[in-house]
């Protein structure tokens, strides 16, 4: 109960090609959890944003994907880890329009709105870990 997933699937995030594999794995996990098309799309889109962040801002890293359960529901947890420079001001990074690059500055804050649980652990120089969890609406 309360999660207790099996060993997570670990995928590298080192190249644009890896982003495609992360999205595919996210879709497969979302389907396993019985998510609707809309729920799947939100999960895949959030994973795409966070994987790209790890690649572009974190200099690459990895993602751990787990099937999770709680009474009556199934879900997916994805943990994105990088060993990049870290985010000095997480609250500011979550603000829409904040960007250190040439992007839209919506990635991190947007990803948070696409999932149900969202946590950022980051310290300058120690890298960044972003954990997201989404649950399927349909009962198990």
């Amino acid at each position: 109960m309360g999660g207790a997933p099996g060993a997570p699937t670990v995928l590298p995030i080192r190249s644009d090609g890896d982003l495609i594999r992360v999205r595919r794995a996210a879709r497969e996990a979302a389907v396993r959890a019985g998510m609707s098309l809309a729920e799947q799309t939100r999960m895949i889109t959030a994973s795409s944003e966070l994987a790209r962040n790890a690649l572009v801002h974190g200099g690459g890293g990895r993602v751990e994907i787990s099937d999770v359960t709680r009474p009556g529901r199934r879900g997916v947890r994805m943990v994105f880890l990088d060993e990049g420079p870290g985010i000095p001001d997480v609250a500011r990074a979550l603000t829409d329009g904040f960007s250190t690059g040439t992007g839209l500055g919506l990635g991190l804050g947007g990803a948070r709105r696409l999932v149900e649980e969202f946590r950022v652990d980051s310290r300058p120089g120690r890298g960044t870990t972003v954990t997201i969890v989404s649950w399927s609406r349909s009962p198990t």
């Binding site: 809309a38 799947q40 795409s48």
Partner: protein, 308 residues
Amino acid sequence: MNDGAWNTPVSPGDDSRRAAAPNGSGARPHDGTALVAEALRSRREQLAQRWADATPFRAVYVAGRDAAVGAAHRLVDALAEVAGSGHCADPSAPGFERVRPQLAEMLAERGAAGATAAQLGAEVAELRHALLALVRDHASHEGGDAGDAVVAAMELVGTLRLVAMETVLDRDAGIIARQRQEILDTATPVLRLWDGVLAVPLIGTLDSARSQVMTEALLEGIVEQRAEVAILDITGVPMVDTVVAQHLMRTATAVRLMGATCVLSGIRPQIAQTIAALGIDLGGIRTRSTLADALAWALRHIGAPAGG
């Protein structure tokens, strides 16, 4: 005592032009590499004749034995040049460069005939056996150290294999790059739906490369067809994240700069939801839910007669 001899071309003809040995002063003893170079030069014809009968040449140059002998001559000359320069272990030695196209052709031919890597290895071994026999024979006649010569010849053949492998990898990399470009081109067709109305049905992930190819093709199409409306249909795009949205917005901006109007169609409900949740503002782009709606709008916009 043989120093003079191995600097002197033994056989006449064009071989004499490449007779330069690494040193002529006699400061260096009769080493293995020099013996190999000498063997390749003085017994050029003998080796070429044997190689022409070995599988790699016989199976490739099926038109006639003369062609096989000619090709074998070129490879013998190339190896003689490499050994003569003393760079038996260097795949970028000038001698190898000259036979790369021929090696690529031979390997492509064998590959097309279905030869496996193991078979190709056995075929190269045929060439090696003939070369080693020749080098050993030459060394014993000339009084050199046959052991050193054989080691040098092995090294030379090993490097030749490496060069051959490189030509295969180069070719494969070229094929992959070409196929990738072909996929990009075919995956983004620009369709003329009506006089002055173009559409691009996008399918799959819209990455930077595809987005660029698509934009270029669309802008060219707008100029060629004097189009007033360009429809980007994303029915087949599985996900729109901030980067994909940015690509779409850039394309729309470029279309507008060309004096045409861009319409985005095929936005499915789940895509609309994620775009809204991400906070992306597509306000600058005209949108329609289906391609049919977009075409209907385009026809009104250009003032086409309403049809049934």
